[in-house]
Amino acid sequence: MDLTNVYQNNYLVVVIFLLLGILLPVGALTAGRLLRPYKPRKEKYTTYESGIEPFHQSWIQFNVRYYLFALLFVIFDVETVFLYPWAVAYDKLGMFALIEMTVFIVMLAFGLLYAWRKKVLKWI
């Protein structure tokens, strides 16, 4: 029972933060709306882009090539997940694990080689 009390108290803090997080911005924005003058002009309604005049729609399509880079990144990024535990326990694992890791990285190199030959790495 004691444990459940502590457990619930932890969430009390979360709830307080949540309420504060909602109330503060709402209160501040309402106060601002009540206090500020309201004189709209056409220029005031355009998008602010650091002083440069906006020149086309903000919804643009990204080049599909980004997606290929993202895929490549995901694969190689996730593989480092295996390198970290190995590096941490390197002293205990010794030679055998080193060879295994070399095999693993050579396999990955095959993937990179594939991407290179299929001209994924080149930006046209």
Partner: protein
């Protein structure tokens, strides 16, 4: 934070898994379907890591299993997205309910 009981984690994982399953079965957009599958796989990871730390018989292998799950999930998502791209080039649509060319 070590006073959150195991059942809390399991419940979270179960809820995530069910949200993922619901999304994968009902959503129209194929990308959301793939994301829902990732959600299900991540629910598994929460389960594994929670069991590995607070389970009846804690053991390190659960964490290792979670690492492997993450890698496999990434590979699966990559292949899924690549196939979706090929499909989009043919159909110009990513809506699951329009993929009905294989029925009489």
């Amino acid at each position: 934070m070590n006073n959150v009981p195991l059942s809390g984690y399991l419940l979270l994982a179960l809820v995530l898994f069910c949200i993922g399953l619901f999304g994968a079965l009902t959503k129209r957009n194929a990308v959301i379907v793939l994301i829902s599958i990732e959600l299900m796989l991540n629910a598994v990871n929460i389960n594994l890591v929670a069991f590995a730390k607070y389970g009846e018989n804690p053991g390190l292998t659960g964490q290792i299993f979670a690492l492997f799950t993450m890698t496999v999930a990434a590979a699966e998502a990559a292949v899924g997205l690549a196939i979706l791209m090929a499909l989009y080039r043919k159909r110009k649509s990513v809506h699951v309910d329009e993929m009905n060319h294989l029925k009489q």
